[in-house]
């Protein structure tokens, strides 16, 4: 166990990892990296390393789950046993079950579910390494995987957290700030539609701090959105279009 740092932010307003209050961690996104999935993406956000895959649209299983007017969306957020300091049991924890639900609900508003009645799509998220903010990074990656699968979407979904470390509202909390900070506000949104699709919070914030945190997280989302779109273009803009030529 590492020694607890006394302060999360120094006198000059610099955080433990050298960032300013409104600075994001380094971000790397790749689209279409799993050959068996219909859509896939990989994200490195700080030390988070996460894979997302989409399988679908496909036949609903079990059949009675099928909906006559829309697609069924399933999501599994899962952490690898080696992704955290102390080995995590591979069985789904209550936290993972809750996160699977909120991640699914954050992506669903973006998907044209009604275009695919009587079908389903699976979103699988595997956290290979966790570093605080895995739900946000998972959403950013899963939205790319969904777009890569070709299922039509209203917008990409992008997520980022803001929170409170010591007495400052900061963007994009990493592990220590997440654990030792006094509040965490993860937000997912469709930036083009200005629509927030995930909002959670724990910790203590007054009304003004909450407003600052929400606005900061939204700014963070918009920055990541630019990187996210570039990642999608990187796969498709320069693609030779083999299928089209055949």
């Amino acid at each position: 166990m590492n020694q607890k740092p006394e302060k999360l932010i120094d006198k000059k307003g610099i955080r433990l990892d050298g960032r300013k209050a409104d600075e994001l961690r380094p971000l790397k996104l790749e689209v279409g990296i799993l050959s068996n999935a219909d859509g896939s993406a990989y994200i490195e956000h700080g030390k988070n390393k996460i894979l997302a895959a989409v399988f679908g649209p496909k036949e609903v299983h079990p059949k009675h789950m099928a909906l006559q007017d829309r697609m069924v969306l399933k999501c599994r957020y899962h952490m690898a046993p080696f992704s955290v300091q102390e080995r995590k049991s591979p069985a789904p924890s209550r936290r993972e079950i809750e996160l699977s639900k909120v991640i699914r609900e954050s992506l669903e508003p973006a998907i044209f579910m009604e275009y695919y009645p009587r079908t389903m799509a699976d979103i699988f998220i595997e956290v290979l390494q966790a570093d605080g903010g895995t739900r946000c990074a998972s959403i950013t990656a899963a939205a790319l995987a969904m777009a890569d699968s070709g299922i039509p979407m209203r917008d990409l979904v992008v997520a980022c957290a803001a929170g409170k470390a010591d007495d400052t509202i900061v963007l994009d909390l990493m592990d220590e700030e997440d654990k030792l900070g006094s509040a965490d506000v993860p937000i997912a949104m469709m930036p083009n539609l200005n629509a927030v699709t995930l909002l959670q919070m724990d910790g203590i914030l007054n009304h003004e701090e909450f407003e600052t945190a929400v606005n900061l997280a939204i700014e963070g989302c918009k920055k990541i959105y630019t990187i996210q779109k570039e990642a999608l273009k990187a796969k498709y803009v320069n693609a030779k279009g083999e299928e089209a030529e055949e």
């Binding site: 007017d69 209550r94 699977s100 914030l205 909450f210």
Partner: protein
Amino acid sequence: MAAVVTSLKQKQIAQLAEKGKRLDGRGLEDYREFKIEQGLIEKAEGSARVLLGKTEVLVGIKIETGEPFPDTPNEGVMTVNAELVPIASASFEPGPPDEKSIELARIVDRGIRESKAIDTEKLVIEPGKKVFIVFVDVYVLNHDGNLIDASALAAVAALQNTKMSNYEVEDGEMKVKSGYTPLPMKKNPITITFAKIGDKLIVDPCLDEEQVMDARLSMAIDDNGNICAIQKGGTGYFKPEEILTVSKLAKDKAKEMRKKLGW
């Protein structure tokens, strides 16, 4: 069948909301009548039943001793579990907790934990070795919407009602003495849920409204009016300005309820 009813009601509920009205005659920002009874389960260390409209939730508190978490050796432990028992609704099935009941338990947990409602430092028997574990079991008895607020309310009311046996430690052995002390509490969080239907925000949705809502937003508010936990649910979205409206309304509503409850 439910889908047909839902799409018919959806139109009706949305049209009413547009005029500032609701199916059960409430205004958009009116909370349903609620009633709290404490201490109705004698075998539990604490208990409370909340009636919120027709929604009914019973919470029982059991206290045991056990080991603290390694990262908090000087604090007792609290754990929340929720059971959506089949008697409460035709849509609930027996079996292990599904994502709905896990989410419910975790929202109730966060409200209590993040507001530091229980003074967990006073639940230590032997630092790092033996502490009290507070089990909060949420039992939904009848589902007519807004299980989150009803469960959160019942949980805090049950904790307030909780009595612990007096004890003394002799040579590392714990001995129960006669008499009881109340569970040490620091805060009484209140959770307020809003549903979004069309572009209207309504507080305390009933089941019909929940079935047609686009999304919901729940906020736990502590005694000082600070927000201590939030959960968005449902497959719709909120505009950023709607979020700020909800946080303001939730604070006002919690204050109003606090007055009514005398918390």
